[in-house]
Symmetry: C3
Subunit: 265 residues, 3 copies
């Protein structure tokens, strides 16, 4: 069904729609995605790969749902501050079943994992998309009444490890890591833990920081991400974060897969 919906988008249609948006409807302007006509006038090569390989092939691959591909793609774009494609991909994510409040939580999560400025820019652009679609997310809870259950044993171990290593290096970081991230952000019910992990892993790969993928990919798989989904996340990121970052991340994915007995060591 989802794949069908994606198929039914006229090629470049949404892209063209988005690129007209800033001119006609929005008071917020930034370098937007080019229209179909402009793309073909400037770079028939890029239009061809965008059309046939990315929209026409990558997004229809098995192994990772269109919804998850949207989460991975948005995480990569926001991490890299690539705002031109954000209007298109916020719209596509909503069409693929990501809810408005999940988008809000994804951006909030990425504020902590990729820097506040990326999230600020993304909120402004998402505001335009919400405006056009008549979406108001203001009733979603700033602070949730209930939080997701905490794995207290794992968290105690994590706290001890971090405190031992860095407690006298940066006590402020250690405190916020516990209070803001692991006892607060990660327990917000607006985004499933498995999806937060998918966002985090995608952001780490897109930022070129594979060293912390080990912890977060294990956490993602503990939270339900399958091996084939993790693998297809890399395929999606090859296009949206670039080949080199994926090649730097693959050895880490490999050793996580090996340590979990999913591939031969």
């Amino acid at each position: 069904m989802r794949t069908k919906r994606l198929c039914s988008i006229p090629l470049f249609g949404l892209l063209a729609a988005c690129s007209q948006m800033p001119d006609s409807q929005s008071s917020r302007d930034f370098s937007p995605a080019p229209s179909e006509a402009e793309m073909k006038r400037v770079s028939p090569a890029f239009a061809h790969y965008t059309d046939d390989m990315v929209i026409g092939d990558l997004w229809h691959r098995a192994g990772l749902s269109p919804r998850d591909r949207s989460i991975v793609t948005l995480s990569a774009l926001i991490t890299q501050q690539q705002v031109a494609e954000l209007p298109y991909h916020f719209n596509l994510a909503l069409d693929n079943g990501v809810t408005p409040n999940e988008l809000s939580e994804i951006i909030t999560h990425l504020a902590f994992y990729t820097g506040w400025g990326n999230a600020t820019a993304a909120v402004a652009i998402l505001g335009d998309v919400f405006g056009e679609r008549g979406i108001d997310n203001s009733s979603s809870p700033a602070t949730p009444a209930q939080r997701l259950p905490l794995d207290e044993e794992a968290e105690a171990k994590r706290q001890q490890l971090v405190a031992e290593r860095f407690g006298d290096v940066a006590p402020g970081v250690v405190e916020y890591t516990t209070d803001a991230l692991f006892l607060d952000l990660w327990l917000r019910p607006g985004l499933a833990a498995r999806d937060r992990s998918l966002v985090t892993v995608s952001a780490l790969v897109a930022a070129g920081q594979p060293e912390q993928v080990t912890f977060h990919l294990n956490r993602a798989m503990d939270n339900g991400l399958s091996k084939v989904e993790a693998s297809e996340t890399l395929t999606q990121l090859a296009f949206y974060a670039g080949w080199p970052k994926v090649f730097s991340a693959m050895p880490v994915f490999k050793s996580v897969f090996e340590s979990r007995g999913l591939i031969a060591g």
Copy 2:
């Protein structure tokens, strides 16, 4: 006093003011920060953390002055080309006591340490902020009449080390490193050496390049940065460069602190 001034800003007030700027006053448009109302409509979660945790808590922490937090934050934003928050933070930096010419020198320093294009974009945005505040920095010296004193022994050692390692790899880089950076940029009196070091260390962490933090953090501490200031720089960067980059930098900070006898090895 500084903290008071920060407190007196109505929450989101400056942010809202900035976000209207491009519409009404400036001919230079880019994706700006969202207004308070928009932020709450799109992501109550992000508005909550921005309000209560970042503006309401982080900026008031002891250990690093608001002026230094502004320097760290601007360095992170410019390094990561996160332009949406720049108008707000240029204004906040001026309110926190960073002088107009120090802003000019910070941008110039970051041109060399993070790439020319980041500085070009920042100068354009700072020009708008200066325009609104009636600031003209044109009388500051392009080339200073007097330079800061040089530690000739340390510089001779640095030159020898770099020439031995890279003299036959990239002689152009080696020459400019000496002539443009260490005998010129670093000796400009418009920004104290300690502040240049703070800018450099922040940029290295924000760029995800901890490998050169050892040299520059030692230099920063030789230039007067205290251990608690260095530590709080990491706390500030956790929010503005993202947690993963800070976790990649903490082992390097730790080994520098250890080598200087500031924490147990």
Copy 3:
């Protein structure tokens, strides 16, 4: 001749021209480069280094042609999503002899090597530049009739190596690496293999990912890049990607030069 042409540009002239473009002629707005007057009002220091050191000196150095410097610079700017200087540098590249279709191929190449969103933004900006210069690239082939010859032995070895290491980690990545990159993109005749290598190496350095420079710098030199050109690529990147990224890349360049017997080990 090329150097002469560059010399004849009034200092800041093109820069000033570009900065007026979005106001008067284009419906696509983003934070553009500041005008000469604004740069001098905001940061005489930055204007001085831009004028005397970058435009007045770096671009005239021997060892790397202005055309190649344009390719390196554009690769660094697009990789880092530094859009403010792109209009200026697309124009300069055309003046320096890079053809319109080579620009199209460079952007397409960088889509794969630095992420789709960077290329989308660049195509939009290049569209404006083409529009002003009356350039229409729409007749260039989306899919070329003929491809460059393939070194089948080297490619078979590469395929085997990658399949052995990552075939069970991310089969999708492995497939696209072969089908999209090495049997397709790299064989497009619109950009010489040596130039693709120059783009790739520049992108890897600018992205802070020196680990894959070994493969691609060797490939670049196999494709005709000389040692002095590789060395001057680093000098150019020091300014456009920042000093730290170049210092992280120099040890890799050094070991490649050593392994090829170009410098003593």
